[in-house]
């Protein structure tokens, strides 16, 4: 094999921008009579995109669809301009760390990554280099020559991650990648994700640990029962939920006085003292207008220490949206 014929992610990243997105057009997937996902329309830009939803909401199905492990019943998918049913092209650009916790028998961590790279057509030296680099990136160098069968859950998770990123793909699809990792490795892995996203990669991450999603994501796709409930940067998604007034926590030196003043404003629905007595929790219909008023209100000896949205995280947004969806059914 001539190594120059292997199309690397780096080559592709320098290309034009028209095919830089992952696009789902009216995609549905049914497993017999069982719905996987339905009528999904998405356009995913570079950066970290989290797929959020409970078990069975369609996260893994979306990932399997974009990597060609399953085929859509209807609709069209394009990953950087490529169809997922062309693995020979797609997987030069895409790495997928699946949720399946099974491995080819009898291999060490190093052999697992190395043999995968040989399938690309890389020669021994190149495959060995890339395998070593990938294993070092996931902090597994010490255990690289041990059999995977003896790995802990966290180590298995990391060797799968090493395999997914060993060929320097442009798109990394990661199904629950932080499962089983201890806090230190978790932090290192999140930092690795950030570095990769800053380098212009697409990272598609599924998670049901919502506070992690908040920390990691540039944008989110919220899923419920196979449907996309909302998508975009989490703050934008929150802004669009008008039926739930925005909650804002204001820390100040005179919370009771601030609460009474705030409550007189038209855009405020509710103002109550925080449980710890050192702040006011305000529900405002128009958050932007409230922020403008706040400077005017906060005079006459009231000293404001901090103002922060209290419910524009993924957990709150998900509760509002999925709760609303289900209550309307």
């Amino acid at each position: 094999m001539n190594e120059t014929s292997v199309n690397t992610g780096a080559d592709h990243r320098s290309g034009g921008s028209s095919d830089r997105q992952i696009v789902f057009e009216d995609v549905s997937k049914f497993y017999g009579d069982v719905l996987g996902v339905n009528r999904v329309n998405l356009s995913i830009p570079p950066g970290i995109t989290s797929l959020v939803g409970p078990n069975g909401s369609g996260k893994t199905t979306l990932m399997n669809l974009m990597t060609g492990l399953v085929r859509p019943t209807r609709g069209r998918i394009s990953v950087l301009g490529m169809a997922p049913d062309e693995p020979e092209r797609l997987f030069h650009e895409v790495g997928y760390c699946t949720q399946f916790d099974s491995f080819p028998r009898g291999l060490t961590g190093y052999q697992f990554v190395y043999s995968y790279l040989r399938l690309f057509g890389y020669r021994h030296a190149r495959a060995a280099d890339l395998a070593t680099q990938a294993i070092e990136r996931v902090s597994l160098a010490d255990a690289a020559n041990r059999k995977i069968a003896g790995y802990s859950k966290g180590m298995r998770q990391r060797i799968k991650l090493a395999q997914a990123l060993c060929h320097n793909p442009s798109v990394l699809v990661l199904d629950e990648p932080l499962n089983g990792l201890d806090p230190l490795i978790r932090a290192e892995t999140i930092a690795l994700f950030r570095t990769l996203a800053q380098a212009g990669l697409h990272l598609i991450i599924s998670s049901h640990v919502l506070h992690e999603v908040d920390v990691i994501s540039d944008q989110v796709v919220l899923l419920s029962n196979g449907y996309v409930v909302a998508e975009g940067p989490i703050h934008s998604v929150r802004d669009e939920i008008e039926e739930h007034p925005m909650q804002i926590l204001i820390r100040c030196n005179k919370p009771d006085e601030l609460a009474s003043r705030v409550f007189q404003q038209n855009c405020v629905v509710e103002a109550r003292l925080h449980a710890d007595g050192r702040g006011v929790l305000v529900k405002a219909r128009d958050a932007d207008r409230f922020y403008l008023m706040l400077n005017h209100i906060a005079q006459n000896g009231i000293s404001i220490e901090s103002v922060a949205p209290a419910d524009d995280d993924v957990l709150s947004v998900y509760e509002y949206l999925v709760g609303t969806e289900e209550s309307t059914k």
Binding site: G68, V70, H92, F100, P104
Partner: protein, 285 residues
């Protein structure tokens, strides 16, 4: 993508084979395939040992017919048949059960190349196991004859020619049954059903219309066997098993070889098309 796809494909086939050969040849689960292959060797070795102990060597012609019968009725129909079930059915179905097939599907490898790599791995392994067995069987059966009889049979007679023919039939059998069971592993969840269906069809192939006989692997193999099985010597007249060895309309050697290779290739092309559309859905396995 590549300026030299054949070079890339060769390299990918070799990469698949490196992984698969190790799994097939060194797997503990595959031990029974070795036992199936070595069973006739042990029987012949016991026979030779018995003759040597008695000091009464057999008639070499009779042993040659016995070999032909064991080869057609046991080795081809049971050893190689079930050996190929064990090797080739697991190439895809086994990986689905172990939930490890997706690793191949997540590599930039054409699915057709994957089928080719897996088939060649199975074929090489089966050829090694059963080809070695045939050579050992010859050695075990004829070792009790004295040197001059052996020399007469192997050097001046048909011995080496028969050996070459049996090895050739064995390799073709591995290719034929291998392609069939690789396809069965792709198509069926329960391996028992295709195995029984193929076993039955192969058993009754002699009674099928001639066109259908051409879809049977054993039809071609029987046509290529160098020694016909004399039913009256081997099993006695009227024994229904004798029908298994009879080939009422044998094909010429060239037709048989070409026919079997075409049949195997067609089955592999069909498998490739199916694998190209195969989805990973371990939940239903």
């Amino acid at each position: 993508m590549s300026q030299r796809p054949w070079g890339l494909w060769r390299s990918q086939v070799r990469a698949v084979m490196r992984l698969e050969m190790k799994k097939i040849l060194l797997s503990r689960r595959g031990l029974w395939v070795y036992l199936l292959a070595l069973a006739p060797v042990l029987i012949y070795a016991a026979h030779s040992f018995d003759q040597l102990r008695k000091g009464e060597p057999c008639d070499i012609g009779q042993d040659t017919h016995i070999f032909a019968g064991v080869f057609q009725l046991f080795f081809l129909r049971l050893s190689i048949f079930f050996g190929c079930v064990g090797i080739f059915l697991n190439l895809f179905r086994g990986e689905m059960l172990e939930k490890s097939l997706h690793y191949y599907f997540l590599a930039p490898v054409r699915r057709e190349i994957l089928v080719a790599g897996k088939f060649l791995s199975g074929l090489l392994a089966a050829m090694f196991i059963f080809g070695t067995s045939i050579v050992l069987q010859f050695f075990a059966l004829y070792c009790h004859f004295d040197a001059s009889t052996r020399q007469e049979y192997f050097v001046h007679g048909h011995g080496l020619g028969h050996l070459a023919a049996y090895v050739g039939v064995t390799l073709l059998a591995c290719a034929g049954y291998g392609s069939v069971f690789l396809a069965a592993g792709v198509l069926f969840r329960n391996p028992l059903i295709p195995t029984l269906v193929v076993l039955t069809l192969e058993a009754i192939s002699g009674f099928l219309p001639q066109t259908l006989q051409h879809l049977s692997v054993i039809f071609y193999l029987k046509s290529l066997c160098p020694v016909a099985v004399p039913a009256e010597i081997f099993m006695g007249k009227g024994n229904p098993l004798a029908l298994l060895a009879v080939n009422p309309t044998p094909a010429s050697a060239a037709t048989a070889i070409l026919g079997l290779l075409v049949l195997s290739f067609a089955v592999l092309v069909f498998s490739s098309v199916r694998v190209r559309r195969l989805e990973i859905d371990y939940g239903t396995e």
